[in-house]
Subunit: 319 residues, 2 copies
């Protein structure tokens, strides 16, 4: 069963039935009257991270993944809680030192504070992180409007190449290996853009599962469709090198997940303010497509304006 | 390493360093300025519950275990988040029906609402529950005072007998088996006492790991000790039957955990109001001992006023 069906069929009736909650239809919970936003996510070894050989890197990645859910909604994270389940190795002195050093660095980088958690013995390594923030308003899911432009921050695909390098599915030179692995473990969160989103985005999501997967999630309850222009989808200089060298096709690299960039839509009238904000903050923002009527199927156009098929849309949560 | 040492040595420096936080020294996080209380706990199959053969019962138990952390602090829980990791079996239609039915019943019983969560595939079954409540004040840990009386609500030990029945370590008649198993899965939370605690308790904790283990946790940062009177420690009529029949010794049954009763201390001057509250709410509250100077070792007295040794203090979290 698809994650959405599970939520819709079984869990949605358990949620608060008023406007202050999101009825489980978003990545975050929002209590408007208390200006409170909470997001919780679980990360399992072998599913969300390959292994725990580099605890410091894994911890950074999952903290960023968690607070990304708030940042993409226009909310600065303030507190986080971390619960770790694992065997004695997880709680070795060496690992505890590495874990807390990483947490401290992330705290300084994003102005967040550890406020609690749990440590549990288990033969399976996993973490649950709960992030908490405060805001009067947030950018919701499923609020795209017909003819909205679709935007994305930063670059896509680097993290996927990093994962391929780590999994030894691809071998590059030392510099590129290091570059892509770093992008996998240290996604660039656009925290400085966060609050600005509230002034122009109609709807938003962070790209964790993949561009297309998350785009479809962002509009999943709406009678809308989309067009994307491959040439406008932003990739890094280093990923462009691989594409030019025909090591990977662009279309195969841009919807594989773990990017943690912000995908949002905005009215065409907001275009100027968006690019002005992009310049003033020094944050890359690319217009990559358009929201259209649901009578049209989703379409991706290549540089010759031909419709192309996307084999891998990203990760869809199924059970 | 002991859980406290891990927190003190590694994690405490990561917490907020002001009076509004608890510096990870309590079971809950309290943001005084926002009147916000959050607690998060992870429950693993084989550690916190035997198996998932009765999803409806396991879910009730872990929800109560989670909100108990707030209730014992004088806070009514309002929201909860549940993240489940497991294989396809966890997310079967049958299980999802049982799980959501149980959640609905607990929601009605305790006026709480599901606000989010996560579903993750893993070969190890575990749940993380985050409970959220709102209150201007809470009852803290480590605020006992010299000569305080020690109180406990309800009865202790029934849940442990239930666990022994489930593990087939003890066989009783059908009625008693059912009684104790029910107490194991459905601990009686004293939610009606919750708010009243703020008017008389100096410090409090819920008994999840065992009377002595939690008592020592409640005063672990204080230069204090305690005396307990075995005869005053409350047990149910049914547990008393087992004790009279010499199936189990009282001392062996009262500190084994999973009771989820509230342990608190209060000034002797509060005795009258406490018993008045007990009568008016119909909630059993027993005075079981006294907080004393740390020059004395902790002592438990039997009915002949002899000091007795307690072999099993309950569960201590070690790694």
């Amino acid at each position: 069963m698809h994650e959405f069906e599970i939520i819709k069929k079984y869990f949605s009736k358990l949620s608060l039935d008023n406007k202050s909650s999101l009825n489980l239809n978003d990545d975050v919970f929002f209590d408007k009257s208390r200006k409170l936003i909470i997001s919780t996510d679980t990360y399992v070894e072998g599913v969300h991270f390959i292994n725990f050989n580099n605890p410091d890197l894994v911890i950074k990645k999952i903290i960023r993944s968690s607070i990304s859910d708030l940042i993409c909604k226009g909310v600065n994270p303030k507190y986080y809680f971390i619960s770790g389940s694992g065997n004695n190795n997880l709680f070795s002195k060496k690992n505890l030192k590495l874990i807390t050093k990483s947490l401290k660095q992330e705290q300084n980088k994003y102005s967040i504070f550890l406020c609690g958690g749990d440590t549990v013995f288990s033969n399976k390594l996993s973490f649950t992180i709960t992030s908490v923030g405060f805001s009067k308003r947030i950018v919701f899911r499923n609020k795209a409007r017909l003819n909205d432009d679709i935007y994305v921050t930063g670059n896509l695909g680097d993290s996927f190449i990093g994962l391929m390098v780590l999994k030894k599915r691809i071998t590059l030179n030392k510099y590129l290996n290091k570059y892509f692995i770093n992008k996998y473990y240290h996604p660039d969160l656009q925290i400085n853009l966060s609050k600005k989103l509230l002034s122009f985005a109609n709807t938003s999501i962070d790209i964790s599962d993949g561009l297309i997967s998350d785009l479809e999630k962002m509009i999943n309850n709406q009678k809308l469709s989309y067009k994307l222009y491959l040439k406008n989808i932003p990739v890094s200089k280093n990923l462009n090198k691989l594409i030019s060298a025909k090591i990977i096709k662009k279309i195969s690299s841009i919807s594989r997940g773990d990017d943690y960039q912000i995908l949002f839509t905005a009215s065409p009238s907001k275009s100027r303010i968006i690019f002005k904000t992009s310049r003033s903050l020094g944050i890359k923002i690319s217009k990559i497509g358009k929201i259209c009527n649901h009578f049209q199927k989703p379409q991706i156009f290549n540089e010759k304006n031909e419709i192309i098929a996307l084999k891998n849309k990203g990760y869809f949560h199924k059970f």
